[in-house]
Amino acid sequence: MTASAEPVSSRVPAGAEAADGGGKRATLREPGAFRPDPRPAARSRMILAQASLETRMLLRNAEQVLLAIVIPALMLIAFSAEPLGTVTGSSRIDYFAPGVLGAAILSTAFASQAIATGFERRYGVLKRLGATPLPRWGLMVGKSLSILAVECLQAALLVVIALAMGWHPHGDPFAVLLLIALGTAAFSGLALLLAGSLRAEATLAVANFVFLVLLAVGGVVVPLDKFGHGAQSALQFLPIGALTDGLRDVLQHGSALPWGPVGILAVWTVAAIAAAAKTFKWE
């Protein structure tokens, strides 16, 4: 591609590309093609563009899809179909569905987000986006919207599977949404705390390790009371413990808004976001 190869007749006068509705294609070789005219897009448009891109990038990453969608779905099917001897009383699916929902939120808001953000920081993506008109808070809002979009996908899939397996959810949908929102906020804060301070490889290792540990001890599969009384009283203060406890209180037992877990998640949210805001390095 050289300048001389461009036929003169195809050149469009400066400004014509905007005026003629695209009848003639601009080639950007005409004089004035790069005439300065910088104007930022509307903030809502920038944020939606960021959310949409992040969602597409996440769904394109096979490992992330495995972590966020395939594994929770398989967990739900495997544990509910196979008696583990740990659950008695109400039907297994009524016990496992809230736990796996909590695990799905943990995987997306914490593990996925920490790993993706860690590598974006390492590759200078956060730095580069910082030079566009998108404000930094807008970037963070975009990330959160993208997390919520993926969670909706996860929740829809898990609910369909659970209902097909005979799940009978109880309780107030508003209480469920509040718990999920608080859990998402708390995990996001922790994810950004990791991703904004550690190297990308360290973030990857720590996020995966913490994810697995929390899956094991967070009441996702094994009820907290199986860990013994002392351990249980500690584990229920973990954000994942509080989230699965709260979701089960509502969805399995039909309780009203469980203030204990809500309070614990709120404290984690405030603490994690405050710490992340203080320590986050953009590059």
Binding site: P40, A49, F119
Partner: protein, 315 residues
């Protein structure tokens, strides 16, 4: 000229005075002053570690100066970042792009941050990125990655672009395509500040060259005038039978000129080269009945000036 019209609004697009930037105990920039005229193309040259990128990143709002003031388009890059960011284009030295993203997708994304961006397809074509297809960024060639990065810097129709080593790692064709685009930016009234290690790039593109060393601007002028300033160090070279009388030759040419035989049969007359000194040299040879072969005038390039100013040792 758009450049002329814009220059009536504000004479300088970038004004830096007394800039100091430290990282821990290391001082990267120490008291740097630089003013970039609106609509001009300024090349910032300097050895590795001279403070080029630190200076540019203070202008882009990535670094907070430890002392001094920086104004870009009349704005403070830190406290007035929100007003400044939409108006500048930034090409980072490396990175800045999602590893799994496609070229068109990234360009479209950054374009969506502007109300009236350039036509993305046209820009893709202009920079020869249409062959990238669905290839993720990490698998593009170094040249394709660089050109995408340049496209991101201009897609928002900026008034001012900062290009950090825009042609590093490009092959000859891509370098020329990039130069053409940069020349067009300047012709369309965009102020350009670029850093480079390529002296011929600075010589070809720049209105002004700023040579930075140890965190200060040590020379700032047009490439021509920087080289002209040291014309006394030009020389006339020719080949002739060895063993000619150097003292006689020096005297014959002009007072202050010095003739040396750098290798047997290779002569160099050092000093300001004028039509007179050239004529005197050939006349002297003619007087001896000698044909000066491979006669050439060696003019000092920007590269010689650069090496004189910044030293020849490796950093």
């Amino acid at each position: 000229m758009h450049a002329a019209r814009r220059s009536s609004e504000r004479p300088y697009a970038v004004e830096i005075s007394g800039l100091v930037k430290r990282y821990g105990h290391k001082t990267a920039v120490q008291g740097l002053d630089l003013r970039v005229e609106t609509g001009s193309l300024t090349a910032v040259l300097g050895p590795n570690g001279a403070g080029k990128t630190s200076t540019i990143e203070c202008c882009e709002g990535y670094r907070r100066p430890d002392a001094g003031t920086v104004r870009v388009l009349g704005l403070d890059p830190i406290t007035e970042a929100a007003a400044l960011r939409p108006r500048i284009g930034v090409m980072l030295q490396s990175g800045g792009i999602y590893q799994a993203i496609r070229a068109t997708e990234m360009l479209r994304h950054v374009a969506s941050m502007y109300a009236d961006p350039l036509d993305v397809d046209a820009l893709i074509e202009r920079l020869g990125l249409d062959s990238c297809g669905r290839t993720p960024f990490r698998r593009l060639s170094g040249g394709q990655q660089q050109r995408l990065s340049l496209a991101l810097a201009v897609v928002g129709r900026p008034e001012l672009v900062f290009l950090d080593e825009p042609t590093a790692g490009l092959d000859v064709q891509a370098r020329h395509a990039t130069w053409e685009l940069i020349e067009q930016l300047r012709a369309d009234g965009v102020t350009v500040v670029l850093t480079t290690h390529l002296l011929d790039e600075a010589e070809r593109l720049a209105d002004k060259v700023a040579i930075i060393d140890s965190g200060r601007v040590i020379a700032y002028d047009s490439p021509q005038r920087l080289a002209d300033g040291t014309r006394s160090q030009d020389s006339i070279r020719f080949e002739a039978p060895s063993g000619m009388d150097l003292t006689a030759l020096s005297t014959a040419v002009a007072p202050g000129c010095k003739a040396v035989e750098s290798a047997p049969g290779s002569y160099r007359v050092e000093g300001e080269v004028t039509p007179d000194t050239l004529a005197a040299t050939t006349a002297w040879c003619a007087g001896l009945g000698i044909m000066p072969r491979n006669l050439a005038i060696e003019q000092r390039s920007l590269e010689d000036v650069f090496l004189d100013l910044t030293g020849r040792e490796l950093r």
